[in-house]
Amino acid sequence: MREVVDFSTFVERKADGTAHMALAVEGIGCAGCIRKIEGGLTKLPGIVGARVNFTQARLTVDWRDGAIDAARIVSELELIGYRAHPFAPERAEADETQHAKWLLKCLAVAGFAAMNVMLLSISVWSGNVSDMTSDTRDLFHWLSALIALPAAAYAGQPFFQSALKALRARHTNMDVPISIGVILALGLSLYETATHAAHVYFDSAIMLLFFLLCGRYLEQAMRRKTRLFAGNLASHKAAFAHRLDGDGQVTQVPVATLRPGDRVLVQPGELIAADGTILTGASEIDESLVTGETIPHAVRAGVFVYAGSTNLAGALTMQVAAAGGGTFVDEVERLLQNAIEAKSPTVRLADRAARLYAPVVHATAALTAVGWLMAGAPVHDAVVTAIAVLIITCPCALALAIPAVQVVAAGQLFRSSVILNSGDAVERLAEVDTVVFDKTGTLTLPDPEVDTSTINPDLLERAARLALSSHHPLAAALARQARLRAPHAGAVEEPGRGVRALIDGKEARLGSAAFCGIDPHTASGAAGTSFLAFAHNDQIARIAIRQVLRPDAVSVVQALQARGLDLIILSGDRPDAVGAVAAQLGVRQWLASLMPAEKIAVIETLKSQRRRVLMVGDGLNDAPALAAAHVSLSPITAAHLAQVHADALFLGERLTPVLRAIDVTRRARALMKQNLVLTVIYNACAVPIAMAGLVTPLIAAVAMSGSSILVTLNALRIRLSVGPGQRAGEAARAEPLADATMEPAR
């Protein structure tokens, strides 16, 4: 039976009779890929255009509606050698792209104005010390105003809007002093120009905007890049479900389009796509992603199962339930809501600095004006001096001090395979003093491994080749051991029991103990271990398949302990399994058989001891704990709900990213504080000069750009001090290649 795949939700139909679809493509890595994909697709009849975006690893295809089917395009790409996943771009992503374009336009306008105003300003500065007439100076000032005023009105919008929003909500942020500084500088300069004065500050105001917009744009670009990457990964993982339609036809549909009441067929070895009740069939399911429990348990008609569980044995049909139809998920959702509501918002370092900064600066300016008036200066001079104080303290360096470090740190984390979900995660990660690990799927690898130590290699090879013909997840672990990746001809899988084939004229069987004629009661062993039986030609073997630790788990745990962090393991699995892992890792504090509520209780206790907790977990049962913790990390293999509530995700088989995340962010926090100290020193030097009335536009320009460049360069030091890591993008591009070589030859 050839199954129908329904991609219609991803296809956008246009008025001119063409259809449009966006796809995330795996494995685009070289110039040849672009040509192969675009060339291969445009040869198909009906295709109007195909365009690869290499940076985003995405492809857009347009075709004449009806001339070709979306599913055909995907299968054609697979023939060319690329796995493609259609997706509907998220609304947030489109908004961010729009915002990025707007920032870039503002940046271009500010850059143009800054260059031209500076051209005029330098002429005036050199003219002031030589032979410029005051008429020429006035002309140059008016020209500067002509350029700077409209440019600032346009390019300053990001700051003015944000400042207005903050003021309406009755609090201040960094954009309030920035806006006040820029507007006062421009206003004063206009007044001084009209009164034929010697000093105007158009160049300072517009240069300030230019520097700040550079910072804003870079920060936004980094956020957009990680979001884009996460979006691609999500679409690579996006599951399809086999929906049973009314006429008995099976259609493959994206999980997102399933509706409550739909009937779904779940084959052995597949993930269960949605919560629901089993209608027919009996099987064993692995709920380790849901509860952390590694031992499969039996299910039959009428049992409620959760999305994310793996169906191990027999085919099931199930009816999709409305969201949160199960008691377990309800419980998790309720806990999650409580955890999110109870969490006090952390005040970011930049906002804390801004709250201190604005009143101090504005009070200093007021004091300056009052001081000069009391000393007998005319009102005009006193006000001009006060405004000069505001201009020179306009928090250019302060506004760059923290975002600049954040951008560099986020880039460094991205290269270490850590993707940030939330912007202030860098600061919160740096404060961590306690790390709480989940066991299953976090400390251990998400997929089980075969214990090859106790079995004859020749027998293992025969079993592994037989396993290639099975859909069972345990058999998949065994199949990875096969050196010759050729399945035996004529292998027959008996769902729920095992697979059999003729090898060298004799029947070989792989599966449950009973299927292979072994007494099932002998099949018990260490915690977290499952067994497959193999029988061939009178030889019988029990193959142990178990959860193994991530390859670098021990060294990472030791390194974390060496940094003075307190480690705790909280697991939903049974005590003997958790104890064994804890002993192997050398972690003294662990708790097992925990329900989600108990995990939260432990974290709340830790928080009440004023500890900053980093939660690392992947299961549905971890989601509330992830939300409750000070900061949280999830592996990319985590359950959807866990990923949504984690502050950052890490890729790959290794645990090192957790260590790197802590190292990089601690370094980043140190640099942020350094940058704040630098800006305080700058102000301490500049403010007395301004208060004394000695600031000329030239001094203002040099001081402001100098301090901004200084903090930006200081932020870049994070790249020197923390060693290189693997690029997340490269890791993700390499993974599909590894997958491809593991598939049997077609």
Partner: protein, 52 residues
């Protein structure tokens, strides 16, 4: 100082030309795939048609 009468407008005009050129490249989507553009230039499919 009469030279300013055409030097200043010339400077402004050049600056504005640069600005509008940038805004045009932004609008035509030339910043959407920066890495891809570097690789596309290596593809020689335009040559093939001429030589064959």
């Amino acid at each position: 100082m009469n030279v300013l009468v055409y030097l200043v407008p010339a400077a402004l005009l050049l600056g504005l030309t640069g600005l509008f050129a940038f805004l045009w490249t932004l609008r035509s989507g030339q910043y959407e795939d920066l890495d891809g553009a570097a690789l596309r230039i290596l593809a020689d499919d335009d040559l093939e048609e001429r030589t064959r």
